[in-house]
């Protein structure tokens, strides 16, 4: 009922663990696959080891979550030894990569590809060193990064993870598609801040962080809706998905698969199973046999 095809990858259900949540080790990814996720995305890796920001790096509240972890990661070279291969887990694995310079995206992507993940996701939230703006904010930069990664990854499909912090996400998605992207992951977090009035300081050590959780969902649904009208490649709709109804909403906006990240905070690591059960229940009640029947239906 929930089987999903994402760029020829067969998923037992459309839920995908989003990058940045728990995906530091291969064993965790395997556990999350076993307990319900259709696919798992690893935490982003770049060309070097990074320790990230000081704590607090996360702020979890009722309907809103913020994080500023600062892209910590062991680096791709260390990961090659740690993971050895990524095609022998309980579910398809999506390797998330980034670099500072364009060439580094290519270098890291090539190494990631050697681990044989089912897909490679490109985190483009890092600012370009020379342009002084993030890769996600510019059609030309997105095109360059996409092409460089595609040139280094062979037949492994590549998804570009877009940010909502732009004037027009449609043109960015279009640029990625034209440059050869096989999918779009939408969206990354929206920037935000929380201040503790007793400490009289921003709570996150980095001061500014990324907003996720239920508060992000309407923004994510709007982005997925707009991107679906612009590109033909599949979308991994991510942002605030916590319940089965949220996942169905994403699919009706046009998502092929649905990212679940912060939802783990709200409902535990078995959220994937919970979301799937809720989707199936709704589908049965509404006599929907498969997700193709409702994908993008909100556009009609």
């Amino acid at each position: 009922m929930l089987q999903t095809k994402l760029c020829k990858i067969k998923l037992k259900n459309p839920t995908v663990l989003a990058s940045g949540i728990l995906g530091v080790t291969k064993e965790t990814a395997n556990r999350i696959g076993k307990i319900g996720a259709g696919a798992v995305t690893l935490k982003s890796l770049c060309h070097e080891e990074r320790f990230g920001n000081s704590n607090p790096t996360m702020f979890g509240h009722k309907d809103v979550f913020l994080n500023a972890v600062g892209l910590p990661g062991q680096g791709i070279d260390s990961a090659l030894k740690d993971f050895k291969r990524l095609d022998n887990l309980s579910v398809p694995v999506i390797g998330s990569i980034y670099g500072y310079k364009i060439e580094q995206f290519g270098e890291v992507a090539k190494k990631m590809a050697s681990l044989k993940p089912s897909m490679i996701e490109v985190d483009v939230s890092c600012p370009h060193m020379d342009y002084g703006k993030p890769y996600y904010a510019d059609t030309e930069l997105i095109a360059k990064v996409t092409k460089t990664v595609k040139d280094n990854t062979g037949k492994i499909p590549v998804s570009i993870k877009l940010s909502p912090n732009v004037h027009d996400i449609k043109e960015i998605a279009h640029a990625a598609e034209r440059a050869g992207a096989d999918a779009i992951t939408a969206i990354n977090t929206a920037t935000g801040m929380v201040i503790d009035i007793d400490a009289k300081k921003p709570i996150l050590h980095n001061k500014i962080g990324g907003v996720s959780g239920p508060a992000l969902k309407p923004i994510a649904v709007r982005c997925v809706y707009e991107i679906y009208e612009t590109v033909k490649i599949p979308i991994i709709g991510t942002g605030g998905v916590t319940y089965g109804k949220d996942a169905l909403e994403m699919i009706m906006a046009g998502a092929t698969a649905v990212g679940v990240g912060t939802g783990v905070f709200y409902r535990g690591i078995d959220i994937f199973k919970k979301v799937c059960n809720e989707m199936e229940k709704w589908m049965k009640n509404n006599k929907i046999r498969n997700l193709d029947q409702i994908r993008g239906i909100a556009h009609k």
Binding site: F51, M58, P72, A199, H205
Partner: protein, 270 residues
Amino acid sequence: MQQTELCKTEIPRIMEVSKVVDEGKNQKSFFFKGNIMSKPGQFIMVWIPGLDEKPMAVSYHNKNEFAFTSQAIGKFTNALENIKKGNKLGIRGPYGSSFPLKNNACVVAGGVGLSSVSTLIDALHNPLIIYGARTKDHLIYLKRFKNKNLKITTDDGSFGRKGYNTAILDEVLSKNKKIKVVYTCGPEIMMKKVLDICNKHKVECQASVERFMACGFGICGKCMVNDRIVCIDGPIFNSKQLSKMSEFGNFARLKSGRKVTIQEYHGNHT
């Protein structure tokens, strides 16, 4: 005094330090008013605004107040050294699993690890405590536990018996067949020895495992030991769980996620 129950919070609650107690060499306990309602073995996240936030075991706990105990070894714990009564810290939690309470218990602690089992000792009925530290100056809570059944070792012999607490545990379990459970907290290499000794004598072991943490609520993925998430699956693990964790006593992950030997991990106080 009116008792204040503090409900669990995921957001730091800014609280005034009500008392600071010197416990031993570079070791201090920081007290706060209110009932944090934690169970033995649980931890809180302590925020020094503007600096950093770290997990700390609840080391004193009653209806009116609670505390954590810190040993100055890195940037964060050195900054705590300068925290005085009246200063404010952010506290969230309590988090994690707790020790199941059982009779006929032995507690094996090393160094400041005693602070993670101190509220357990308060809750247990007359446990045997085997406590080791490097030197006499590193021993904590001697007054607090003076009426307890306490065996002490120091590495240099400056107090109690010279040598390791694990040697005493082996002797005790060989002679005393009444002991049904061994609770432990301390350096992980010591706890691995405790687990091995317990397995040899077929006695249940419950250990408090420490790893680098960012969130405390099971999503950052930094505190993994194999596929176990220390902050929500633990920090308390039993013999069966520990025996399945090949990384326990051998490997840990740095803040970056890179896997290193437990010795390198303990030398890295970021």
